[in-house]
């Protein structure tokens, strides 16, 4: 019974914190105030102030965690919506995204291995370019840490949005296909949201790249990791 009340309190407070963050973001649109960042920071501050252990928080948090799987399944819907565009631009989008998946896995793996980090960290950094629920699932099956994987996903997402003007200039990305594939492959949902704000076409390509990237990375990451580690 006690667990039930704790769980319910956690779920209700998480909904309230999330709702508050979304409302704030609508008024103050900045990448640092994105709902996921704001909600996470507020929740951590609350846990620290009231000295609530993470395990206690997770009595309710695990119920929200359970819904991550169906949320990923739901990503099939936007992919289906943009199927006509996907058909037309299949080869460039698929090839670009596949190369992005390979580059992301190998560069993350080699750089962190070089710097001498543990396998737990390496396995958590490998799936960083895909959307959080998928990255966490990959990290979980390959011996990484799910929360750590989520943090690297945030670094790839926010980092990508911050540096994309320089990357675009350096690689001369000026076509919406190149830009969309780059944003979706490297910075998943956070990059896609940024693309969507600028241009519908670029945003749709980014959505496709983000979903394809999730599929590619989850298929090739385990094999490449075993091979290269």
């Amino acid at each position: 019974m006690n667990d039930f009340i704790i769980g319910l309190t956690v779920i209700v407070s998480t909904i309230l914190i999330y709702w508050g963050s979304v409302t704030f973001y609508k008024k103050c649109r900045h990448i640092y105030t994105a709902p996921i960042i704001l909600s996470t920071v507020v929740t951590i501050v609350v846990l620290l102030i009231f000295q609530i252990p993470y395990e206690t928080y997770m009595i309710g948090g695990q119920w929200i965690d359970h819904l991550l799987g169906p949320a990923v399944v739901g990503l099939a819907y936007p992919l289906y919506q943009y199927r006509d565009m996907l058909k037309k631009m299949l080869l460039p989008v698929v090839t670009g995204t596949f190369i992005g998946a390979v580059v992301g896995i190998t560069s993350g793996l080699f750089l962190s291995k070089w710097a001498g980090f543990s396998e737990l960290i390496i396995n958590s950094i490998v799936p960083k370019s895909v959307t959080t629920p998928v990255a966490m699932a990959i990290a979980d099956t390959s011996g990484g840490a799910m929360p750590l994987a989520a943090v690297f996903v945030m670094i790839a997402g926010i980092g990508g949005v911050l540096i994309h003007p320089f990357v675009w200039r350096y690689f001369r990305l000026n076509h919406y296909i190149g830009r969309g594939v780059g944003m979706g492959s490297a910075s998943h949902a956070i990059g896609t949201a940024t693309s969507m704000e600028r241009d519908d076409l670029e945003g749709s390509i980014s959505t496709i790249a983000m979903v394809l990237s999730a599929v590619f990375v989850s298929i090739i990451a385990p094999g490449l990791t075993v091979l290269l580690l």
């Binding site: 999330y18 965690d65 580059v103 993350g108």
Partner: protein, 123 residues
């Protein structure tokens, strides 16, 4: 209220596909997460018209709009891993950013080059 019921029913459907995906993963000993198998499964069902777009529209739309909500507990978990970013760990942020720049630049450049070639071909 009607809309809420529709969303909940469709969420149960998505949950069922997730469950099927996880079952496939376990039976075939795959490394691909069950959720991604479920995604591919749903895309196939939609493409084959075995599942109507309207059956998933509201549920999937709701989940995607509020996607950040579902991973709050996971990102809050950083509380247990904050120590990793102390000292040398700060390097990991640089590694993450550099690797992200490479992914963005190379994937975009390849896609753009191929598109340009195709456009020239069709002209």
């Amino acid at each position: 209220m009607n809309k809420a019921v529709t969303i909940i029913v469709q969420l149960i459907g998505l949950y069922f596909l997730y469950w099927v995906g996880t079952a496939i993963q376990k039976v075939l000993h795959l490394f691909i997460p069950g959720s991604v198998i479920g995604l591919v499964l749903l895309f196939a069902l939609l493409s084959l018209k075995l599942v109507s777009e309207q059956w998933v529209q509201k549920g999937a739309g709701f989940m995607i709009t509020h996607l950040p909500f579902f991973f709050i507990p996971a990102t809050v978990g950083i509380i247990s891993y904050a120590y990793i970013f102390k000292g040398k760990g700060i390097l990991l942020i640089g590694i993450g950013m550099f690797s992200t720049a490479l992914v963005m630049g190379l994937s975009g450049a390849v896609a753009q080059k191929m598109t340009r070639r195709m456009e020239r071909f069709y002209e």
